[in-house]
């Protein structure tokens, strides 16, 4: 393959990555500022107060629908509070999270079954 074409492709790919990164960065900021982090954790890991959001992130439109329509324990987010675009950025942030390690690869989670 032509060396020039390869270089051009690489350059394109890296600008696309940079763009993704900045969307994800904005998403992270939204995620904190709109309070998602309180209940769902910075990695989207979930807690007693909110479900796991990442990995296996719901599609962006499903998240928008859920935020707009929920009547359950999660507070409802109207369009007056957060825009669709901002939710899409949150989605990008959640998608950008690295896959969690297996608990067996983490010393403190490895041999803890005890008598179970």
């Amino acid at each position: 393959m032509n060396k020039l074409i390869v270089l051009a492709l690489l350059a394109l790919a890296s600008t696309a990555n940079a763009a993704d990164r900045s969307v994800a960065e904005r998403g992270r900021k939204n995620y904190v500022e709109f309070g998602c982090v309180k209940c769902h954790g910075i990695a989207g890991q979930g807690s007693v107060s909110g479900l796991k959001l990442a990995p296996d992130v719901l599609p962006a439109d499903a998240i928008i629908t859920f935020l707009r329509g929920t009547t359950g324990p999660m507070p409802r987010y109207g369009a007056e509070i957060i825009s669709d675009a901002q939710i899409i950025e949150i989605h990008a942030y959640l998608e950008s999270r690295p896959k969690p390690a297996s608990p067996d690869s983490i010393a403190a989670l490895k041999d803890i079954r005890g008598k179970r």
Partner: protein
């Protein structure tokens, strides 16, 4: 000479010594200021009877000047005539004898003038042993420590405070103990006889009925007006407080009684404490309950403040295994080993939904176990799908107060057994055993497999969930708890406090630690009064020191700032206690609740931080602890630093001292 009109016993009335309660201290004050009296104008002008201060010259230089008579009077009372006590004993020595007869190990207190007689008797007459005076820096901490001590050891302890300002501080902590069914012997200093009050402060620090303030959330109180009745009321109070349902009692220790001279000690009698026997459920009701449980296809057992001792846990295991019935542990006590396959707390919603018989053991809010609030409907719906028979066993019906609403919504149940849960379990087990045919046993045995699988699945799901966000900063609560578990699991450990709720750390200890003994987890404040965590942990740490157990406290930052002085008490009394800060720099629960409001009203979220976030400036808990003589590390923000810091802190605690590791954490 003051005549003891209020004192009923012979000895006091016959007393011929000047028993002005101010006499003794007054003479000390007069002696120490003797030289001053001549030099300071007006010093002798203080009224020796009323103690009314002499008018002061407004322009006299203060600085290094010795105290005026007025100042001395304000501090110690009016200088009376010099009286040297000829008595071999005094009222508060006798009070100490009463405490000794009850085997009280500690008196938790912040020193105060209204029980100075008692305090002096403890440190001199008793040699500061049984009870030992534990220096507390807030009356709320005094109660909190006694609260934690009891839950770790099963032994009630005493606290003392002014019946006025001290009790105002202590009251919230007494409410916590009341809601948590924990006994505390609270002594309220007071000076009932008005003409004995030496100065304005004495008046302010006296009340006509001091215990009125806490009567709504104590089991009993009394204001004994003689030493003989002090003895009887204290023994009665001890017995009442320790008989389930347990609760604090308040006893006024009148200052006059404390400070009176005692010449004829032999005439006073301390009544013997009769061993307490908890009330047991009625046989017929127990039998009916057993029948329902044996016949049930989907029984569920819910345990709240059930296990007072290890025997309570053992009996619940026996009952659950007999029936192969799942147990939902409410985490107010460790009622059931969390490694047992029948521990199904993680699946409570599904189990309650499908239940045909629900047994509540010492459940305060049984109604709330079977009904839920549905926000969208602004109303309640049943958590149970089909018709379920409901049984309650507990002591709630024996003792209830009207004002504070801790008794919860009224549950209309099918069988209500009034009796102590732990004490009634043996007869319930017996009835269940009697009702089980061999065929039925086999049928019930078939349930085990499903529960084993569900238990294993919950555990594995929790393990995987803990790995998610493992390396994030702020540190995840999963990592906080699991690094802590690694650091302590080789010890004979006890998780003595987790703040208001184990949910604040997403229940990680209950999900992933092995909690198999009743003493390994001591529950929560129960009243939701903030400022419980640290004092209760220190009190429990003191108890566990004797019992040879390693105490660990997961300490929430908001709670810490209510009573940080408890850490000094831990350092001063060499309490081995590992405190690990869950420092999310916020009042987390409220941050969520206020945000709910903003969401509901379609208003901005960011301003919710106002009043709920504690980050400007961030509080350095390690420095705070170090300032009080406690070994401390942090703030830890990189999760990799956590394990080594914990290791060092554990070594300090094993040397017999408190240690604190400040960890900056995520919200939950």
């Amino acid at each position: 000479m003051i005549v003891f009109q209020i004192v009923g016993d012979e000895m006091a009335r016959k007393s011929t010594v000047d028993v002005n309660r101010r006499g003794f201290l007054g003479s000390l004050a007069a002696a120490s200021t003797g030289a001053v009296a001549a030099a300071v104008p007006g010093a002798q002008a203080a009224d020796p009877v009323t103690g009314k201060p002499a008018p002061e010259a407004g322009d006299k230089p203060r600085g290094a000047m010795p105290p005026s008579a007025a100042e001395t009077a304000a501090e110690f009372g009016a200088p009376g005539k010099a009286v040297v006590s000829t008595a071999v004993s005094c009222g508060s020595d006798f009070m100490v004898d009463v405490l000794k007869s009850l085997d009280i190990d500690y008196l938790f207190a912040n020193t105060a003038s209204s029980f100075r007689g008692l305090q002096e008797s403890i440190v001199n007459y008793a040699g500061n042993k049984k009870p030992e005076f534990i220096t507390c820096m807030h009356e709320e901490s005094s109660v909190g420590m006694a609260h934690g001590y009891f839950k770790a050891s099963g032994k009630m302890q005493a606290m003392a405070c002014h019946g006025t300002v001290g009790l105002q501080h202590a009251s919230m902590a007494l409410y916590n103990a009341y809601c948590d069914r924990v006994p505390v012997l609270a002594f309220l200093g007071n000076l009932a006889v008005a003409n004995q009050r030496a100065n304005a402060t004495d008046w302010r620090h006296s009340a006509q009925d001091p215990a009125a303030m806490v009567r709504d959330f104590t089991k009993w109180d009394d204001q004994p007006l003689s030493l003989q009745s002090f003895a009887e009321s204290t023994v009665r109070g001890y017995k009442l407080a320790m008989t389930p349902p347990m609760a604090p009692v308040a006893l006024v220790a009148d200052a006059e009684l404390q400070e009176m001279e005692l010449h004829e000690r032999a005439k006073l009698v301390i009544p013997r404490l009769t061993a307490m026997s908890p009330p047991q459920g009625e046989t017929g009701a127990v039998r009916e309950a057993a029948k329902l449980l044996v016949a049930a296809e989907h029984p569920v057992i819910i345990a709240d403040r059930l296990a007072r001792t290890q025997a309570g846990m053992d009996r619940l295991v026996e009952l659950a295994e007999l029936l192969n019935a799942p147990v939902i542990d409410q985490a107010t006590r460790q009622n059931f080993p969390n490694t047992h396959y029948l521990c199904q707390s993680a699946n409570s919603a599904a189990l309650v939904r499908g239940a045909d018989v629900i047994l509540g053991l010492e459940v305060t809010d049984f109604w709330g176990q079977i009904n839920q609030y549905v926000l969208a409907e602004h109303g309640f719906s049943s958590k149970v799908k089909g018709p379920a028979k409901t049984i309650t066993l507990g002591t709630t019906d024996i003792f209830m107060k009207s004002n504070y609403q801790d008794f919860q919504r009224y549950p209309a149940v099918d069988i209500s057994i009034t009796g102590d849960g732990e004490a009634t379990l043996p007869s319930l087990i017996e009835e269940v055993r009697r009702g089980l045919s061999n065929d039925r046993k086999t049928a019930l045995g078939a349930r085990a497999d499903g529960f084993r699988k569900a238990h294993a699945a919950s555990f594995e799901a929790a393990r995987a969930a803990a790995a998610n966000g493992w390396d994030t900063s702020p540190v995840s609560t999963a990592r906080l708890c699991m690094e802590l578990w690694q650091a302590i699991k080789a010890e004979d450990w006890a998780l003595v406090s987790v703040g208001a709720s184990p949910g604040f750390v997403s229940n990680w200890p209950h999900r992933l630690w092995s909690i198999e003994k009743q003493y390994q987890y001591l529950g929560v404040s129960s009243g939701g009064g903030v400022g419980y965590g640290l004092p209760a942990a220190v009190g429990a740490g003191l108890a566990n020191k004797k019992l040879g157990r390693f105490s660990v406290n997961i300490q929430c930052d908001g709670d810490f700032m209510y009573a940080p002085g408890a850490l000094w008490s831990a350092a001063h009394h060499r309490v081995p206690l590992l405190s690990v800060m869950h420092n999310n720099r916020a009042y987390g629960a409220e941050a969520m609740l206020v945000q709910h409001m903003a969401n509901r009203r379609n208003r901005p979220i960011k301003p919710v931080d106002i009043g709920t976030v504690i980050d400007d400036p961030p509080i350095n808990y390690a420095k705070l602890a170090q300032g009080m003589g406690v070994y401390a590390e942090g703030p830890i923000t990189d999760p990799k630093d956590l394990a080594p810091a914990l290791k060092r802190a554990v070594a300090v605690v094993k040397r017999g001292e408190p240690a604190l590791v400040d960890v900056v954490t995520q919200m939950r």
